[in-house]
């Protein structure tokens, strides 16, 4: 019997929705319930609903859920902190009581033998459904169009942002760049790519300028804000040498333990405390080298 196989699966899956932490898992469990339901519809002489359940519910509605979950972030897991004390327990108890009442009541109900749908489905389930749908329930059917229109308007209103300014074209962008350069001296060309002249060309490694200083423009600002930019000097052993050759310059940059490169990304490079420096502002000894620090707002240096 399909029912006895599917019923436990559905109940377990449904219970799972209550307990899994991640919303995505809940969605997948819901899919299990819905597909099982579709099978039960087929068993219950409702082939049309079987199809609609799969296509509309599982195929469209649940996908919409997943889609939104992806937007929100798949990792988003549920907090278990109660804001109203005892609410969870109360809800559980209430739910148990409700379930118990319903289950006992319905298992006692004597419905008699089912009439069955053989007669009602004569001429085809879909044809008969259409018969009813477009005769007795035709007004309700038309009224659902109001729902769908409302839904469409709702989605538009809440999600669609109208463009208030004309979309900039290539030409206008180019003109703007030139204007910026003329007015504020903003760099015209493309930004330097990371890792150039450094030992790595990973995106979190700033490019070194010919004088050995790091180019802050070469790393993504997001990385800098997160504090996962590697220190350039660690990859430039010869920087001291270069300096010496250039004459003057201090040699303590690489020797300073605080200046050791830090491994803050995923690669296993040796650690530097570049990111700790704001805590000890007085110790900054090589200002030109503190590439990532300088990108931080509010840096005392």
């Amino acid at each position: 019997m399909a029912f006895w196989i599917l019923a436990p699966i559905m109940v377990v899956a449904a219970l799972g929705i209550l307990f899994v932490r991640k919303a995505v898992h809940a969605a997948l469990l819901l899919a299990v319930v819905m597909i099982s339901l579709a099978v039960l519809y087929a068993v219950l002489d409702a082939p049309f609903l079987f199809a609609v359940q799969i296509i509309v519910y599982t195929g469209a509605i649940l996908m919409l859920f997943l889609f939104v979950l992806m937007l929100v972030g798949v990792d988003a897991s549920d907090s278990v902190v109660e804001t109203i004390r005892g609410q969870r327990a109360m809800a559980t108890v209430l739910g148990l009581v409700l379930g118990l009442v319903l289950v006992t009541a319905f298992s006692q109900v004597a419905l008699g033998s089912a009439v069955g749908l053989d007669e009602a489905n004569a001429g085809g389930n879909i044809q008969q459904l259409a018969n009813i749908l477009f005769s007795r329930y035709v007004f309700a059917f038309e009224a659902t169009s109001a729902l769908l229109i409302t839904a469409a308007i709702g989605a538009m209103v809440l999600a669609h942002r109208e463009r208030l300014t004309p979309k900039p074209t290539q030409a206008s962008l180019a003109a703007q760049r030139m204007r910026d350069y003329a007015e504020s001296g903003k760099h015209l060309g493309p930004l330097p790519s990371p890792g150039v002249y450094a030992r790595h060309n990973a995106v979190d490694t700033p490019a070194l300028l010919p004088d050995g200083t790091a180019s802050e423009a070469s790393v993504s600002r997001v990385l800098a804000a997160r504090g996962t930019v590697r220190s350039a000097p660690a990859f430039a052993d010869d920087i001291d040498e270069v300096r010496r050759q250039l004459g003057g310059g201090r040699s303590d940059a690489a020797a300073d333990p605080d200046r050791m490169p830090e491994q803050s990304g995923k690669a296993g490079a040796p650690a530097s405390t570049e990111e700790d420096v704001p805590g000890t502002p007085g110790r900054s000894s090589a200002p030109p080298l503190r590439s990532s620090d300088e990108q931080r707002p509010g840096d005392p240096a």
Partner: protein, 530 residues
């Protein structure tokens, strides 16, 4: 076997519904094709015109309505018996349309907030961002609210007219969905507004789940969705009363959610506070009318024969609703929340009327029927609450509407007219004689007492006393307290809001002094048809 039978659609009787629906769709088309500058005027005119046309239709139908069956009722069953256009339906349609007209005027108000409406310039722009500011400085406006309003009105008309469970469910959803959206579109305090929309939506969906399960169970009991067939089944008592009882309970839960009865009232204050004030005004009045209309039909027509099993439940709910609404209202410090809790208390009073149903034979000649009393109360409350929220929209400070009650101190000195009108609405809600609220209260209490529900009436009186306290407190603050800081300011509205307030006040006064015509009209509506 079943050959397809072409349905007969009574276009004349359905005219109001069709017009509202058509205008809503037309509004969407306008939104799509009309230039931005023309949209506001086009939408407002279209909406108002559609409502008026529908209202005219209601009057015409009411004039021609035929006596149904045995003469106790009038009207027709339309579209294969799924929609009952009878006296009560027409009364509720008329009421909803008039209230919606008031709501439209409030929606269209642009004087209060410096030339823009109360709705967000761009709902998709994040609050506090450049995009929002830009939308605001350009005076953008979501004119989609008018079609949404019309869809909600369509739902409000379909819901109480539905003559089977399925149509009723569809009506419920059609009425709810646009309101969820409208709640989230406030121009000021957008976070609050969005939150209100979320809460309203989640709880509304939850409650419609209950309603639907009730539908399923009652269908399981009676084997049909039609109210007449359900009534027949209840009368013949096919056994399995567990299905019926639980089904009725679940349906009631769904409806109680919509009207905000305890213990399902939790959303009311949040939503009333967070939603844009015009929406609150429209929603508070319209939803209650529609949902009570549906409740009356469902319980009287489908389950009337099983009165003894649902009346006790109604007793308890009514008692709890009145008491909790009144007590919690006392503790509020925000005007909109206070009005929200007061609306919960009024739900209780209305339920007191609903449970006052009796056999027609038990009524004396010329005695009020429960239906008449509830319909009348709905009218009185609808106008009062519409007007009250409209006034709330007028009192402002630099941050928009000043809904904190302390900000209302000394309003009587700042603007005696506004304070006076608001005090009048409050007195009406408190049920002071010579206002509509008093006659309404008298009507529902007397039908409840006539049905023997004296404990409920006693509690109702107690709750009225508690309720009177917080209404009076507001009046005292407005007239006798010194203003806090520089005091509240009253934004002088355009003719639109002023008309709505005047409409509310006039109706409240007229129904208080000469309630006869409307009571007679409600009596003339007669009984429901099945």
């Amino acid at each position: 076997m079943n050959e397809f039978i072409k349905p007969t659609i009574e276009y004349f009787e359905l005219w109001p519904l069709l017009v509202v629906f058509g205008v809503a769709c037309l509004g969407v088309v306008v939104e799509a094709f009309a230039p931005r500058s023309a949209r506001y005027l086009a939408q407002v005119l279209l909406t108002a015109g559609g409502l008026v046309a529908a209202l005219v239709g209601v009057v015409l139908i009411a004039r021609d309505s035929e006596v149904y069956a045995d003469g106790a009722a009038r009207g027709v069953l339309a579209v294969g018996g799924t929609i009952a256009v009878d006296g009560p339906t027409l009364f509720i349609w008329g009421l909803v349309l008039v209230l919606a007209l008031g709501g439209t005027l409030l929606f269209a108000e642009r004087h209060l907030d410096g030339g823009v409406s109360a709705f967000a310039g761009q709902a998709a722009a994040l609050p506090g961002t450049e995009a929002e500011r830009e939308a605001s400085t350009r005076g953008l406006d979501h004119t989609e609210v008018y079609p949404l309003l019309m869809f909600a009105v369509f739902g409000m008309m379909l819901f109480p007219a539905a003559n089977d469970l399925l149509t009723m469910f569809v009506g419920l959803e059609v009425l709810s969905l646009p309101l969820y959206l409208l709640c989230g579109l406030a121009r000021r305090r957008r976070l609050l507004s969005q939150e209100a929309a979320l809460k309203y939506f989640l709880l509304g969906a939850f409650s419609s789940g209950f309603f639907l399960y009730g539908v399923a169970l009652v269908y399981g009991y009676a084997g049909s969705m039609q109210f007449a067939a359900i009534n027949e089944a209840v009368r013949n008592d096919t056994g399995n009363s567990a299905l019926l009882l639980i089904g009725v309970g679940m349906l009631a839960v769904g409806l109680f959610f919509k009207v905000g009865a305890v213990p399902f009232q939790a959303w009311t204050p949040d939503v009333y506070q967070g939603a844009p004030t015009p929406v609150t005004a429209f929603m508070a009045a319209g939803t209650k009318v529609a949902a009570f209309g549906a409740m009356l039909r469902l319980f009287y027509v489908a389950f009337g024969a099983d009165r003894w099993s649902w009346q006790p439940m109604m007793w308890i709910i009514a008692i709890l609703t009145m008491l909790l609404g009144a007590v919690l209202a006392v503790t509020q410090t925000d005007m909109k929340r206070m009005l929200a809790y007061s609306s919960v208390a009024h739900t209780g009073f209305l339920l007191t009327g609903v449970l006052g149903v009796q056999q027609t034979s038990a009524l004396a000649d010329g005695e009020l029927t429960a239906l008449q009393a509830v319909l009348f109360y709905l009218a009185t409350y609808g106008f009062a609450v519409l007007g009250a929220f409209a006034v709330v929209g007028l009192v402002r400070d630099s941050g928009g509407e000043a809904t904190a009650m302390s900000r209302w101190s000394g309003l009587g000195k700042e603007s005696p007219v506004v304070a006076g009108v608001f005090a009048f609405f409050l007195l009406a809600m408190a049920g002071i004689p010579l206002t509509s609220g008093f006659v309404g209260k008298l009507a529902v209490f007397s039908v409840a007492l006539a049905a023997g529900a004296w404990p409920v009436v006693i509690v109702a009186v107690l709750a009225s006393i508690i309720a009177a306290f917080f209404y009076i407190r507001v009046i005292k603050a407005m007239y006798f307290d010194e203003p806090v800081g520089d005091g509240p300011t009253v934004a002088y509205p355009s003719v639109l809001t002023a008309t709505t307030i005047a409409l509310g006040a006039a109706a409240t006064l007229m129904l208080g002094i000469l309630p006869g015509p409307l009571l007679d009209l409600a009596g003339l509506a007669g009984q429901f048809i099945r």
